[in-house]
């Protein structure tokens, strides 16, 4: 095939920064075939590609688990940090503060976030560290062979493991309680919604929490499990049909009056929420709290944008950071002058 033709073809599927989708792929996955985490990885790739985010501007943060391994399987051109079990919120806080010019995307699991890492997660949200925080939620510890995690259904039974007697930790509820400004839930079996919510999260200026039900096909995919594909497909109840529209782009969705809500993000992009069964206002925190409390363990899987507010400033603004990344300061910017030291010495005489 002639180079021209090649160029045409490639440029054809190049995004606005001149990259093809292939430039966003990662190493070959070693996760189980059909694992929900793999489909989430694909949506991350799609969202990044479609939003034309240069991979070099992204850092991939994770803890330990199958979910936390997955950043190795997307965007090899982004730096990644597969840290310690439950501690991703802490490494992310450091990394983000060290370089505010990068966008951090954290991938964690339900064990990683709701068990060992719960306190860090809540404090990260409370500090509003600017990043996308994804929990790939399957109700079990996949990598250690299927023990119950803290998000497992009460009274659920798993063979070899037993029965889980405890109420699940609700990631979204915890995030809201910690005053998160962006809380969404989705389902790996609903790729379109996952992708749109990812785009919205990526345009959010603070901590964007995405709790994505991501079936573990090996250890927790029996139909009666609320973390299974079958259950999700059957009982998913989207709050709305969400579409993210980049800045300055025509909104192309048919305009049936009253049926559309639009939310503008700080970066000028738009979230278009198409109404479904009942009304739901994701900017009303109380409504969000009540909805979660009512639907928790209520036999349906509510998905969509649960809460959005850009009121709270992100941590870098709170800390009044320079725009130059701390990681890129020059030596003059980092080391105060000799005079300043002499002055100080006087103050100790």
């Amino acid at each position: 095939m002639s180079t021209e033709v090649k160029d045409k073809l490639s440029s054809a599927n190049q995004n606005s920064v001149g990259l093809t989708k292939a430039d966003y792929k990662g190493r070959e996955t070693t996760l189980c075939q059909g694992c929900g985490h793999n489909s989430i990885s694909s949506q991350i790739i799609a969202a990044m590609y479609e939003m034309s985010i240069p991979p070099e501007r992204i850092v991939k943060m994770s803890g330990i688990g199958c979910s936390s391994k997955s950043p190795a399987y997307f965007m090899s051109r982004s730096h990644g940090f597969n840290a310690l079990h439950g501690r991703m919120p802490t490494t992310s806080t450091g990394a983000v503060m060290a370089n505010t010019s990068l966008k951090a995307i954290g991938v964690s699991g339900d064990g990683d976030t709701a068990s060992i890492g719960l306190s860090h997660f809540i404090h990260l949200v409370r500090r509003n560290v600017p990043m996308v925080y994804i929990v790939e939620n399957n109700g079990v510890y996949g990598l250690t062979k299927g023990q119950f995690s803290a998000t497992a259904d009460k009274d659920q039974e798993l063979k070899k493991i037993g029965i889980n007697p405890f109420m699940p930790v609700d990631i979204c509820m915890e995030a809201l309680t910690a005053n998160a400004g962006f809380v969404a839930r989705s389902f790996a079996g609903d790729p379109k919604q996952v992708k749109e919510l990812l785009k919205a999260a990526l345009s959010f200026k603070g901590t964007a929490v995405l709790d994505i039900i991501s079936p573990c096909v090996t250890f927790n995919n029996r139909d009666e499990s609320t973390k299974s594909y079958a259950w999700g497909k059957k009982f998913e109840a989207p709050l709305h049909d969400v579409t993210w529209v980049p800045k300055r782009e025509e909104i192309m969705i048919e305009m049936e009056p009253g049926k559309l809500a639009e939310v503008e993000m700080h970066d000028g992009s738009m979230l278009v929420l198409k109404k479904l069964e009942q009304d739901y206002d994701p900017t009303d925190r109380m409504e969000a709290l009540n909805m979660l409390a009512e639907t928790c363990c209520g036999g349906i899987l509510v998905t969509g944008l649960i809460y959005l507010s850009e009121e709270q400033p992100p941590l870098n603004e709170v800390e009044n950071l320079v725009s130059t990344p701390l990681a890129r300061l020059t030596q003059d910017q980092m080391r105060p002058s000799e005079e300043s030291l002499l002055e100080l010495m006087q103050s100790f005489r």
Partner: protein, 610 residues
Amino acid sequence: MAEKQLTLVASNPEDDPEAVINDFSMVVATVNGSGSQTSNMALIRALFSMGIPISGKNLFPSNIQGLPTWFTIRASQEGYTARRETTEILVAMNHATFLEDLEGLVGGGVCFYPDHIAKPDLRDDVVFYPMPVREIIKANDPPRELRDYMSNMVYVGVVSQMIGIEIEAIRGALESHFKGREKPINMNMSIIEDSANWASENLVKEDHYYVQAGDQTDDLILLDGNTAAALGAIYGGLSFTAWYPITPASSLSDALKGYLPRLRRDEEGKQTYAVIQAEDELAAAGMTVGAAWAGARAMTSTSGPGISLMAEFVGLAFFAEIPIVIWDVQRMGPSTGLPTRTSQGDLLFVRFLGHGDTQQIMLLPGNLEECFEFGWRAFDLAERYQTPIFVLSDLDLGMNLWMSAQFRYPDEPMDRGKMLSAEDLDEIGEFARYRDVDGDGIAYRTLPGTDHPKAAYFTRGTGHDDAAVYSERPEHYVENMERIARKLETARVNLPAPVISTQDGARIGLIGFGSSDPAIVEAIDRLKDEGMLVDYLRIRAVPFSDEVPQFIDAHERSYVIEMNTDGQMYQLLQLAAPENALKLSKLNLNNGLPLSARWITESVLKQEGR
């Protein structure tokens, strides 16, 4: 001298044949929370400004209010700054401890006490000066919430008058303390002056302790080690720190928070640094690791319990080769131990911190200049060798007041270590994060955000090949660990070398480190007085440079002096010098108090059978 007759003596040392000048330990016994910091500060700063060598130690309880606290000011003509076991001057403000405090006084010693507390009737061999605290306060009538606090100014005045501290020096001290704010300065000075006047009119000097202005503190500075460490870190380019409150490390972060705003703001007043109070030490360590990984100079500081909690992250930083700096301001362990007592008990734990085969680098500052120097140098070392650098200080060095020469501005440009830019990558055309390109065991790193398709790699605590790809291959694991060992060996010879002082004909060596240096230095003189010459090696880093085993080899016997229970440095040295293991002798004491020259002297003599 219990039988000694007390006679009226001249208030002027020249006329006093028994005069003891600029050489005493003065203990102010109070209860904590009673606000005696200002008064003690006034006394010590005044002495310092009079050119008299001093050191100040605060012995305080792990409690906020109401328990016994002792502030000790040592004045020493010879410039000794170590803790002494005897007290010459006692200011007994705490009736609860009056008795035991009195017992600590030397014969011929002096005791100042408020006349409203009952003086135990013992020690007819010491001089008592009652102080009419209440009257003087009543007369000055300060705001009632300031009463207790102001009462302390009375002893400042009386003591100054009786031993000869210049009132102007006191005023100067208060001026710098209150940063020139007239109101508090005057309020305090008026009480101090009244007290001094009262003393001159009502007390006759019966003791022999005097201070006399000198010039021995010219262009020295007076501060605590945690402040020195914080400044060192700032001049080392610290850009990120995460911490969690813990005694005795908190004041290091306080100092960072205090000085960074002045020193690290850009034109628009934006911060070129971040200080985060974390939710715990695991988070503090994790944030520090994350920031260092992203390329900021990052540090955390803590004490024992925090070190235990940071173990997993330190292991990650060691294995993934992330340059972090950790200050361990040591306190008494194990466990919560004694949070307000000093110790050197974390050596072995820190050296092997993190499960699996880890070997952590430790710097051991022995004075304030080194707190400052290691403060900045730690970052150069961390980034050069891409490994955690621990700096082990302790409560005595970190929280007490020390004289020091002024700090020298870093004499080397920053060493950010081996980093590859996008341009470098264009040239080289390839990148493997953990490849030993130069044969020194140190691999090159790229920072996140480096704008090049080949720049990225996946950092992990799991086994990996030299391209940072997960690998379970036996040879990959072995090669990687061997490279890290090479790297650490490269580092070893470039760490701060030990400081060695010798005397002709000495056949015995003393080995020490950290805050016990002043006591050892003084002990060396005492031993000399006893006719025993010793050499002295002060360790400043672990792993040891070659001078250390050489010193041991060159001496018949070397005493390893340390403040811990298990002789931890002794053990590390045994491992470093197996051929001379038997030439090493333990000399350790771990009771929460800084070592004294007397204890060292007597212990050495005893073990030497003298």
